[in-house]
């Protein structure tokens, strides 16, 4: 029997009502981490002392009649590319481990703490976010809580697996080509990548600035909306962060989907996928009574352009280290970074110009549709170390192929929520709910309807310890 997920909203409610103490909740989270993290390998740092001290402060504030905030006492953790004051920001690398500790928290970490949430620790990822599997040569593999022999997905693998296993109800990750959505789908939790520039990335290690986003993982739609609303707002520390005023989504969650135009992404978004990955899209479409299809033209070129821009920008960020200490990189990223450093400028610039072209095409499509459905990944979690997968009789490399459906969308900064579909006696899969830029509220309304229908859910799994 799978326990029902207790989401962050519910935890904050009972803490604020002083039915349960923040200290007890944090102690319970730490105990679950102690039981399972050795097998799962989600956390790279656990900050037990500071978390327990913060919990006592929350309890004291409540005893004094103060309001500690909407996430009072909620344990959370972040991908280890977020700055946490006092810790070196690893970004999954050995190289960054010898750097000085961060002097202040990332903007998003500070915002969640300000809302009463309690930071429990930092989470494993692919080195410098360059991967979809979280098989990290320095810090080990993060295992999928549903089946330890499978990957958690990446690059925010620790963030997804920690929520799926109920170690913490809330985490943050980053998404450049799919790094929130892919692990969310493979681990069976909600993972949200808002519009490019909507949330501040200040105090996070960049990978490819043209596409870098941050966002939350959680077990309920209301938690995703709560965190998204808390993290909105301009930030002079991130030059990409929007100056648009925040547009709270939580108050609109129950508005339903009457009048919304929803369609299924066809062609590219129905190719190179296992039948079950398309079946879950159909399941969501049927629940929403959607049959219309739309085509996002030249999406295979969008993915190609995303590859070129990512590898060029990523390699340039790490060029000094690639020159002087290539042996300290993860072998899984090193040769790709080295090759990316050699990219001719014409390829990079043409890819950037193609990005504008593709954005214009997709803008046109959003004149007649509000939300688009697509698979998140082409298949469920591959085995750890698996280097070949057969899809419709064609052999493919699972590591790169995991981003097939996510890359063209982050390429033009569209907001996307991956919603989890749990299948009896099988691994979970995800469906992407995609909207036009800044229309996050529409996505979350659709997700709330699916959640109320029981089509999407993120039940916490209790892993069988190895």
């Amino acid at each position: 029997m799978t326990p029902v997920a207790v989401d962050a909203t519910q935890i904050a409610t009972v803490i604020r009502g002083q039915e349960v103490s923040a200290l007890a909740v944090v102690a319970s989270s730490l105990a679950r981490i102690a039981s399972y993290n050795q097998s799962l390998n989600c956390f790279t740092t656990v900050m037990a002392d500071s978390a327990l001290a913060a919990a006592k402060q929350i309890d004291q504030a409540l005893a004094n009649g103060q309001n500690p905030g909407p996430l009072a006492g909620v344990p959370f953790a972040v991908k280890n590319l977020f700055d946490v004051e006092g810790l070196p920001t690893l970004a999954g690398s050995k190289i960054n481990g010898s750097r000085p500790p961060a002097r202040q928290d990332a903007t998003a970490v500070a915002a969640l703490k300000q809302a009463g949430a309690i930071l429990i620790g930092t989470l494993n990822m692919d080195e410098y976010a360059y991967g979809f599997v979280t098989e990290n040569a320095h810090y080990g593999v993060t295992h999928n809580p549903h089946n330890f022999s499978r990957v958690a997905g990446g690059s925010s693998g620790g963030s997804a697996a920690a929520v799926a296993a109920g170690l913490v109800p809330l985490t943050l990750g980053s998404d450049t080509n799919g790094s929130i959505r892919v692990p969310a789908a493979l681990c069976g939790v909600f993972g949200f990548k808002p519009t490019y520039g909507r949330l501040s990335r200040a105090g996070t290690a960049l990978f490819s600035s043209s596409f870098d986003h941050i966002g939350p993982f959680a077990t309920s739609v209301r938690d995703i909306a709560t965190v998204f609303d808390l993290l909105q707002g301009a930030d002079p520390r991130d030059p990409v962060c929007t100056h648009r005023p925040p547009e709270p989504c939580l108050p609109h969650l129950d508005q339903g989907i009457g009048g919304l135009r929803i369609a299924i992404a066809a062609d590219y978004f129905a190719q190179n996928a296992a039948p079950e990955a398309l079946a879950v899209v159909e399941q969501v479409a049927q629940a929403l009574r959607v049959t219309r299809q739309v085509t996002l033209p030249e999406s295979h070129r969008a993915r190609a352009a995303a590859f070129l821009i990512t590898t060029s920008e990523g390699a340039n960020l790490h060029l000094a280290d690639l020159k002087t200490r290539p042996q300290d990189f993860d072998p899984a990223t090193r040769d790709r970074f080295l090759a990316g450093a050699l990219t001719p400028s014409s390829w990079y610039l043409q890819a950037q110009r193609f990005r504008s072209w593709y954005r214009d095409q997709v803008r046109e499509i959003f004149q007649t549709v509000d939300v688009i459905l697509a698979p998140t990944t082409p298949f469920s979690a591959p085995a750890i170390g698996q280097d070949k997968i057969l899809i419709n009789g064609t052999e493919m490399a699972p590591r790169a192929q995991l981003g097939w459906f996510t890359q063209p969308l982050s390429f033009i900064g569209l907001p996307v929520l991956s919603v989890p579909i749990h299948r009896p006696n099988d691994l979970p899969l995800g469906v992407q709910l995609i909207a036009a830029p800044y229309n996050e509220a529409l996505i979350l309304r659709v997700a709330a309807v699916l959640e109320a229908q029981g089509i999407v859910s993120a039940p916490v799994v209790t892993p069988e310890v190895l």
Binding site: F307, T311, A341, Q352, D360
Partner: protein
Amino acid sequence: MPDPLRYVEQMTELLGLPLSPEYQPGVVENFTKLAAIADLIMDFPLPEDIEIAPVFQP
């Protein structure tokens, strides 16, 4: 791609990016893949008035 090995050798020299013989085959393999990916972009005609969208605010 006519000769990725020669390109990799010359470009790494130009960039001052010394490549140990141990890494060279992997880098050539990855660059060859990139070249095939780049074909998809370079083969696609774009109008001259399509410009990149830099986020640079003076």
